[in-house]
């Protein structure tokens, strides 16, 4: 087997893992203004991802490092080309990550609300921009003969890119609301179910548009089947939410994200970053990959360690399988009473 092809799929797997996992983190963050009616509820929401957001975020670091090791040209052209969107993603991830940790360090209402806002913005911005970035990767960008990007920020904000961003935004939002329903209890759980159902309907409309556009532009049987699968899973997830079966809804939702991201990678293959300037300038699996030796070393590393990683991360999710109950937060609550107007 051609190792460069294997690595294309390993990179795809890592990004799928990232979006399935951090996708719901982003959604949980974005759901704060809709579901966090008081400080206890907001803490309940944040604590659903407390033990796991860090390991979920690590997926993008590993995906990036593997991209660097296996496809240096792809990594270099992509990261220098998508400069400003990546900068915004980095800034958002910084404020979001520290906000989880800082928010509970002081009891004052104003202090907490400030970090709530940062969590919301820090979740929404990357949820949108990752979609814009991946839609543009599939669509192709202006690359010159040296594979350097020649566009600017506005080049990326084209209709297909924006629709891609909107799709990941609403998809992750739904995914996160479902996760809140799965991991909390009482009123919050019911509110989250309702929100996930409503958001799910919007997602069906937006995602259908984006997937259809993708299928039309990059038609192949595999793309069509995967896109159809994503659509069916999404509808299944919304129906399960409607019936209050959040476990099934979440499983289907995770599978939806996986199928949708897989659709994009299948549509992209064997290119990795197509050039709209001249097809001859495109980066492909063949001309962007590392040497045979490096790919062999990396393959051994990945094949040994990826199963272990899945094992111990799966165990973590098992350890933290219980719902975050309202009483458990109330028991440790130190919040200064909220102002009456709030």
């Amino acid at each position: 087997m051609d190792l460069a092809v294997l690595w294309f799929w390993i990179v795809a797997f890592l990004f799928i893992g990232y979006f399935v996992l951090e996708g719901f983190d982003f959604g949980v963050g974005m759901s704060l203004p809709f579901l966090g009616k008081d400080d206890v509820a907001r803490r309940q929401i944040i604590n659903t991802i407390g033990p796991v957001w860090d390991l979920n975020e690590t997926w993008v670091i590993v995906a990036g490092a593997c991209l660097f090791a296996a496809f240096p040209e792809w990594y270099a052209s992509l990261f220098s080309g998508f400069y400003l969107p990546l900068l915004l993603i980095l800034l958002a991830l910084i404020v979001r990550g520290v906000s989880f940790e800082y928010r509970h360090q002081r009891p004052e209402h104003e202090w907490k609300r400030r970090f709530d806002r940062m969590i919301i913005i820090g979740s929404a911005v990357p949820a949108f921009l990752w979609g814009v970035a991946f839609a543009n990767i599939i669509q192709g960008v202006p690359l010159d003969a040296d594979h350097n990007y020649t566009g600017n920020l506005l080049t990326l904000l084209n209709p297909y890119g924006l629709l891609g961003g909107l799709t990941t935004l609403v998809l992750f939002f739904t995914h996160g609301a479902t996760f809140v329903a799965l991991k909390t209890d009482g009123v919050l759980r019911r509110d989250a179910q309702k929100l996930a159902t409503k958001a799910g309907v919007v997602t069906i409309v937006v995602a259908a548009g984006f997937l259809l556009w993708t299928v039309l532009e990059h038609f192949s049987v595999a793309v069509l089947l995967l896109a159809a699968l994503a659509a069916v899973l999404l509808i299944g997830s919304v129906l399960a939410n409607l019936r209050g079966r959040e476990g099934i809804a979440f499983t289907f939702g995770a599978a939806t994200v996986a199928a949708a991201v897989a659709t994009l990678f299948v549509a992209l293959f064997p290119a990795v970053l197509p050039s709209t300037t001249d097809p001859a300038f495109s980066l492909t699996v063949a001309n962007a990959s590392s040497s045979q030796y490096t790919l062999e070393i990396m393959s051994w590393t990945a094949l040994i360690f990826l199963p272990l990683i899945l094992l111990y991360q799966g165990w973590t999710y098992w350890v933290f399988r219980k719902r975050v109950r309202r009483e458990s937060i109330e028991a440790v609550s130190d919040a200064v009473a909220e102002p009456a107007a709030a």
Partner: protein, 468 residues
């Protein structure tokens, strides 16, 4: 100096974000080990003071940890964003240790830290203890791979040039991972990270002890911190000496720049200047305190060795690689080298004196000024590690990969200056704000002191976990 020069902006950005990132990394390395040690002591002896210390330093560790994670993502993305031609040239070699770091170490660390923070009431005590040791091992392993990647920039080995693709390609992963530079730099970095952590622990303990608070736990913390400092400072000196020998071998220009030695000197002439007042560029001395033979000894471990001077190396390099300026900025390397060594020695001294005046048989309490010095060991240790990295990286210039690629050739050709400027300003602002918030929160946690009410009893067999 052109303010809109993408190269200059990208370099400032790399320097700024790297130094900033490395304010949090050493504390993560040292605090995870410290929390693991105290937690082990608690489980072994059942003494509550060890539990209280675990929880107390654990809290400081956590406030610090999130910053280490999020500023680390910037480091990885930055190679592609600002240094795309560098990434293209070295990716085949340099990417492998980075990817291995992610797959072997970083996932491990990130997963087990979550289990430790939130698992107090969900795991058995032994299993829970294992999670903090796993976190510590993961973070130390992670440092190894990063330093192996960095070592390739200092001393490129285990590669061959592929002219057709215009890049370096990996030929032997084991040789790459066993780069003499990383073998020496790894223990040096870990030891100095521990020294930094010890500085924090000593400062915190001293702050409480001088006020007569929490004396029971803080006495223990102080003694632990002082021993930790002494051990790590001694290790830092010894490993630094090793690293110096490797450096003379692999990057003689860096050693010459460390001493601002312009002409080759042997034996007694190869002296080490402790202090110099000279022209700002370090090219001539007005006044200087010198130790004869010391530079010869540091560089070769003999008293009659020769150390090559900057001008001679410049001539050699010009012959090898054509006309150009092959010297780093000498006044920076000269002073950074001195501050690094001086502060390292000062830490060993603080630890020795501290251990003496706080010994059990001591007849009187340490003087007030001693506590003040102890509190100052925190900012001083930050400075020590920062100048150490400034020396290492500035001393590599003008190369991004020594002898293979110049820094100016590594910068992203397609990224306009305004974009780099925007990101430099954004990072500076956000990092500055977060530094203030972070510092205040750590101070707040420190001032609060350990929660000594926590008990483990039969009615309450488990401890509460952190709740965000």
């Amino acid at each position: 100096m052109d303010l809109l020069d993408p190269l200059l902006l990208a370099r400032w950005q790399f320097g700024l974000t790297t130094i900033y990132h490395f304010l949090f990394v050493p504390l993560t390395l040292g605090m995870s080990v410290t929390a693991a040690v105290f937690q082990t002591a608690w489980l072994r002896t059942g003494k509550l003071k060890y539990l209280h210390l675990t929880r107390f330093f654990g809290k400081i560790f956590l406030i610090n940890f999130a910053m280490g994670v999020v500023t680390g993502i910037v480091q990885e993305f930055q190679f592609g964003m600002n240094w795309s031609d560098y990434s293209r040239f070295v990716g085949d070699v340099f990417g492998a240790p980075l990817a291995m770091e992610g797959l072997l170490a970083f996932f491990f660390e990130a997963t087990f830290i979550g289990l430790w923070i939130f698992g107090w009431d969900k795991l058995s005590p032994r299993l829970h203890l294992a999670t903090i040791w796993a976190t510590a091992i993961g973070s130390i392993l992670s440092a190894y791979f990063i330093l192996a990647a960095n070592a390739f920039m200092q001393n490129p080995i285990a590669y061959q040039l592929n002219e057709e693709r215009g890049r370096a390609e990996l030929t032997n992963i084991w040789e790459l991972l066993a780069n003499p530079v990383s073998l020496a730099a790894f223990p040096h970095t870990i030891a100095s990270a521990f020294m930094f952590t010890a500085g924090v622990i000593i400062a915190v303990a001293a702050w409480h002890l001088v006020r007569g608070q929490h004396t029971d736990t803080m006495q223990t913390a102080l003694r632990y911190g002082l021993w930790f400092m002494l051990g790590s400072a001694a290790a830092t000196v010894l490993t630094g000496d090793q690293l110096g020998l490797v450096m003379v071998d692999t990057q003689p220009m860096k050693m010459a720049a460390a001493e601002a030695l312009f002409t080759t000197a042997c034996g007694a002439d190869a002296s080490f200047s402790i202090f110099t007042i000279g022209t700002p560029d370090g090219t001539s001395d007005l006044f200087s305190v010198r130790v004869p033979y010391l530079l010869s000894f540091l560089s070769t471990h003999t008293f009659d060795g020769c150390v090559e001077g900057l001008n001679d190396l410049q001539a050699q390099y010009t012959e090898l690689w054509g006309p150009g300026d092959y010297m780093p900025i000498v006044w920076i390397t000269y002073w950074a080298f001195r501050w690094m060594i001086g502060l390292g020695m000062l830490h060993a001294l603080i630890a020795l004196v501290g251990l003496w005046v706080t010994r059990k048989k001591a007849k009187r309490l340490p003087a007030k000024w001693m506590w003040k010095v102890a509190i100052w060991s925190y900012p001083l240790s930050i400075m020590a590690i920062t100048v150490g990295w400034i020396f290492t990286e500035m001393g590599r210039q003008p190369w991004i990969v020594f002898s293979l690629m110049r820094t100016e050739d590594g910068v992203s050709p397609g990224v306009p200056a305004y974009e780099v400027l925007i990101s430099l300003i954004a990072f500076t602002l956000i990092y500055a704000i977060l530094a203030v918030v972070e510092f205040k929160l750590i101070l707040r946690a420190v001032h609060k002191g350990p929660d000594t009410t926590e008990q483990v009893s039969d009615d309450k067999p488990t401890l509460s976990s952190t709740v965000y």
